[in-house]
Symmetry: C2
């Protein structure tokens, strides 16, 4: 599964670099049918997702990926599930937050779009 | 998405209760094509997955689900992605471990089987 892991790495590098520099630019990764569940709140469509992401109350954010796993998600299509855990540094806080994020990527004309996106902070006990 | 959340809740209740009582009984939830990535190690097929799960080096284990999110994973099929975060209490340790787990469930004759399964412990910094 070397290829799928390379796709997952390339996607997450691009996704988090874009998120951390200008998250309004994430729009083209989503479609009308795309879903985001952000901390339990379900949101659908590229426009609504970008509106949510750009309204998050932090000015400066940095994602640090700790683990990255990928699996093919459909025997008939080259789609994949990407599961990420990592740390989120918000507004230069000395206490990074742990997060988990899951994507399903669907192939579309030589590239991929995000069909599923689930984001959660992990607060521990 | 009330229905999908109910399915996800029912599935995870059953899955973790079974895991914590006798994880050999998880076999029927998987098929030959099922994939598990356990702490970065890829495993395929029901038999290999059960062999892995039953060989894990803990006698007593308890999963406590903290967050549970579900989304439909395919516009044409009633499959779903289930994303879980929670705590794992191993052998009565006073220090639970955080975990993240993602499943894709595929409908099959009135029930579901696990096509994708990604498990990770979250160690923090």
């Amino acid at each position: 599964m070397a290829d799928i892991n390379a796709i997952a790495k390339e996607f997450t590098d691009f996704y988090y670099t874009t998120f951390d520099s200008n998250r309004a630019n994430l729009g083209p990764l989503y479609r009308e049918t795309s879903m985001l569940t952000w901390e339990g709140t379900p949101i659908q469509s590229a426009n609504a997702i970008v509106e949510k992401l750009t309204s998050l109350p932090f000015a400066k954010v940095q994602h640090k990926v700790t683990t990255l796993d990928a699996q093919p998600s459909n025997p008939a299509v080259a789609s994949l599930i990407v599961s990420v855990t990592g740390l989120l540094v918000v507004d230069d806080s000395p206490n990074p937050l742990q997060f988990s994020q899951v994507f399903q990527l669907i192939p579309d004309g030589g590239s991929y779009y995000v069909y599923n996106d689930v984001f959660r902070l992990n607060y521990g006990e």
